[in-house]
């Protein structure tokens, strides 16, 4: 199993009762809530934790893109990505640079993403994993002003353009519906052959999962709910589709974000991390109103009818603004405890759901930097070495992992 460290940049100094006073974490006023010291500690803390993760033996570091929000202040993940790419290269760290990533449904400059990813692949020494999220509705539609109905069309067209731009031997003109370029001839190109691994984050939409399989890419369940709650029903469907399409049920096709925290004992872990994780859920995804995820046009009519007709218990995912630590832990949204506890629970859920890549989220919300560092260190020293061997005996080949710069590349004359 590959275990990477997933990092976002939540503003770390929101008031404890933030969710009582602000309708949404994607609309609060900057000057009312943030200051120079706080924003500096937030951004520097994120970078320092990412670098620590890279140096601590994680198989990769993961970054995401969200604009105009208090819960992830990373307008372009290529910015921290560049910092980490250079760290991996100069310190000769064999870890993946996982961008989950620049949003092709949201951007008005798709070719820039092709160029940025190519540059990151070069900078990191061929360690890029190229992630292609559609983009959350509030982010694509509200922040970027993309009409909801155009989000998916833009994503598909942008992806087609990016793949052509990476592969083309000759410059070409691109007459897209959303983007037109008279002359496409990007420098640099990715150094991995034939291209960096392609990962597609999603939330379990069957259409998305089918196209991921058809593309022979990896599927990333990008949620804070974790393997067990987030993946319930979704991974069963994914593996069914995999079988229907005659593809190998290779666990490395699947990655999922999992919130974890490690301390010396279960009791201490709960005491130290519990309040911060609870607040992180309340102030983060729990503080995004439902209709911000579903701007009109973002979900096609049939999908919307299906979602609204679903009568089942929406579960803890609908109560993130008020869920207690105990509820989050019991449900499996967070895996928190001693190294032995975290190892066992992580292995059990990944084995059950056939997950080959875990993206461990170790910092959340307003958790202090020192505490995040402790969790990163303990996870990397006492959990990571034990769970890494999972799936090795099963003999699957990981075809969705960076290869580095091909040896045939030779040296500059």
């Amino acid at each position: 199993m590959k275990v990477a460290m997933f990092q976002q940049a939540p503003y770390r100094f929101l008031p404890a009762d933030f969710e009582q006073h602000y309708a949404a974490c994607v609309t609060p006023r900057y000057r009312e809530l943030a200051d120079t010291a706080g924003i500096t500690a937030t951004i520097h803390g994120m970078l320092d934790e990412l670098v620590l993760g890279a140096r601590s033996g994680f198989d990769g570091v993961v970054m995401t893109e969200h604009a105009q929000a208090a819960y992830d202040i990373t307008p372009n993940p290529s910015l921290p990505g560049a910092v980490l790419a250079n760290t991996l290269r100069t310190e000769d760290i064999d870890a993946a640079l996982i961008m989950l990533g620049r949003s092709l449904g949201k951007t008005r400059e798709p070719l820039k993403i092709a160029e940025e990813y190519a540059m990151l692949d070069v900078m990191s020494g061929g360690r890029l994993i190229a992630g292609f999220p559609v983009g959350l509705s509030y982010d694509a539609n509200i922040n970027q002003g993309i009409p909801g109905v155009d989000t998916r069309g833009r994503f598909r067209e942008g992806y087609e353009l990016l793949r052509r731009a990476w592969a083309a031997d000759e410059p070409f003109a691109f007459n897209g519906r959303y983007a037109q370029y008279a002359h496409v001839n990007i420098w640099p190109r990715p150094v991995q052959e034939p291209h960096p691994p392609l990962w597609f984050p999603g939330s379990g939409n069957p259409g998305t999962m089918a196209s991921v399989l058809d593309e022979d890419a990896a599927f990333v369940l990008l949620t804070w709910l974790g393997v067990q709650v987030g993946g319930q029903g979704i991974f069963d469907r994914f593996w069914e589709m995999c079988e229907e399409k005659g593809k190998e049920a290779n666990p490395y096709r699947v990655a999922v974000v999992q919130v974890c925290a490690v301390a010396e004992t279960d009791e201490r872990a709960e005491r130290e991390y519990g309040p911060w994780l609870e607040r992180g859920f309340h102030h983060g995804l729990g503080s995004i109103p439902h209709h911000f995820f579903l701007q009109p046009g973002y979900v096609p009519l049939r999908g919307l009818q299906g979602m609204l007709r679903a009568t089942g218990d929406p579960g803890i995912g609908a109560r993130l603004h008020e869920a207690t630590f105990a509820e989050l832990a019991d449900a499996g949204c967070v895996i928190v405890g001693s190294p032995a506890t975290v190892r066992e629970r992580l292995e059990a859920v990944c084995r059950e759901m056939r997950v080959g890549n875990v993206l461990a989220m170790l910092h959340m919300g307003e958790m202090p930097h020192e505490l995040a560092e402790k969790s990163i260190r303990m996870f990397s020293e006492e959990v990571l070495p034990h769970v890494r061997g999972m799936w090795e005996r099963d003999g699957y080949e990981h075809r969705w992992w960076p290869t580095g710069i091909p040896e045939t590349a030779g040296a500059v004359a």
Binding site: P147, G148, F292, L294, G297, R309
Partner: protein
């Protein structure tokens, strides 16, 4: 009194047969075109009353009909939408017909009149969008929480018309479908006005030559009644009526007054 069974739907191929325009038709008498607001179309009491004396044609923005939701993908921009509307109305022999446009439909009616001056009859606008003033920004209806919609659309959110609009079916599936349809309709229309409902109408509006009536609610929370004066000033000879104690959905909140103004203006 007309009943729903009197409604028929004309399906008119447009855009070199790439696309069908769906036009709801009801009533008898001289033709009248109604262009619906951003949230979609319904035979509301105002239109029911109007269809007593007029044949009301209501073209749906492509995609708004749940029977053909993907049609929105075949219309690329506002210009194509204007062409599709004109092709459909011409195919139905509605050149010369009067146009009423409400909110989003008001903008569309202006675009039709400005693009094809002289092609249609009189123009009636119910609190149209389409212009923008930085000192009076149009409210962001797309970001509005569902529970805040009554206050956005009605001067008195507790009025009977507001309750009628926001009362959902009891059956859970029908309820889900109704919410989905209204959401999708807003998504389809947003394609032509999102994120700021200004596609340059201010640079074309002077081309409108039709006799025009602009009606506004004094307490419009979605688009301020200062825009009544804007439209009145920019459309030559336009008459402006502002209704006191009334919000954005003026033909629903003040049905009788609106009907009287429209009847008097259109004549017949």
């Amino acid at each position: 009194m007309a009943t729903v069974t009197d409604v028929r739907e004309e399906i008119v191929p447009v855009a070199d047969d790439r696309l069908d325009m769906r036009v709801q038709v009801r009533g008898s008498g001289p033709p009248l075109v109604f262009l619906h607001p951003a949230g979609g179309f319904a035979w509301d009491p105002f239109l029911e009353a109007l269809s007593e004396e007029r044949t009301v044609y209501a073209p749906l923005v492509p995609g708004v009909s749940p029977a053909d939701p993907d049609a929105i993908d075949d219309v690329r921009d506002l210009f194509e939408l204007v062409l599709c509307e004109q092709e459909a109305l011409s195919a139905l022999g509605l050149e010369g017909a009067d146009l009423i446009g409400a909110s989003f439909g008001g903008m569309l009616a202006c675009e039709l009149q400005a693009t094809f001056p002289g092609m249609f009859g009189k123009l009636v606008l119910f609190a149209p969008i389409g212009l923008w003033r930085d000192d009076a920004p149009v409210a962001n209806w797309m970001m509005t929480a569902p529970e805040d919609f009554p206050a956005l659309l009605f001067g008195d959110p507790g009025c009977e018309a507001a309750q009628a609009m926001f009362t959902l079916p009891d059956d859970p599936a029908a309820r889900a479908d109704a919410i989905a349809a209204a959401t999708w309709a807003m998504g389809c229309t947003a394609k032509f006005v999102w994120p700021v409902p200004d596609r340059g109408l201010d640079r074309r509006i002077h081309r409108i030559s039709a006799p025009t009536l602009v009606i506004w609610g004094r307490d419009d929370a979605l688009i301020s009644s200062v825009y009544a004066e804007e439209f009145g000033r920019r459309i030559k000879g336009a008459r402006v009526e502002v209704l006191d104690g009334c919000g954005h959905a003026l033909h629903l909140e003040r049905e009788q007054e609106t009907l009287a103004l429209v009847r008097a203006f259109l004549g017949g």
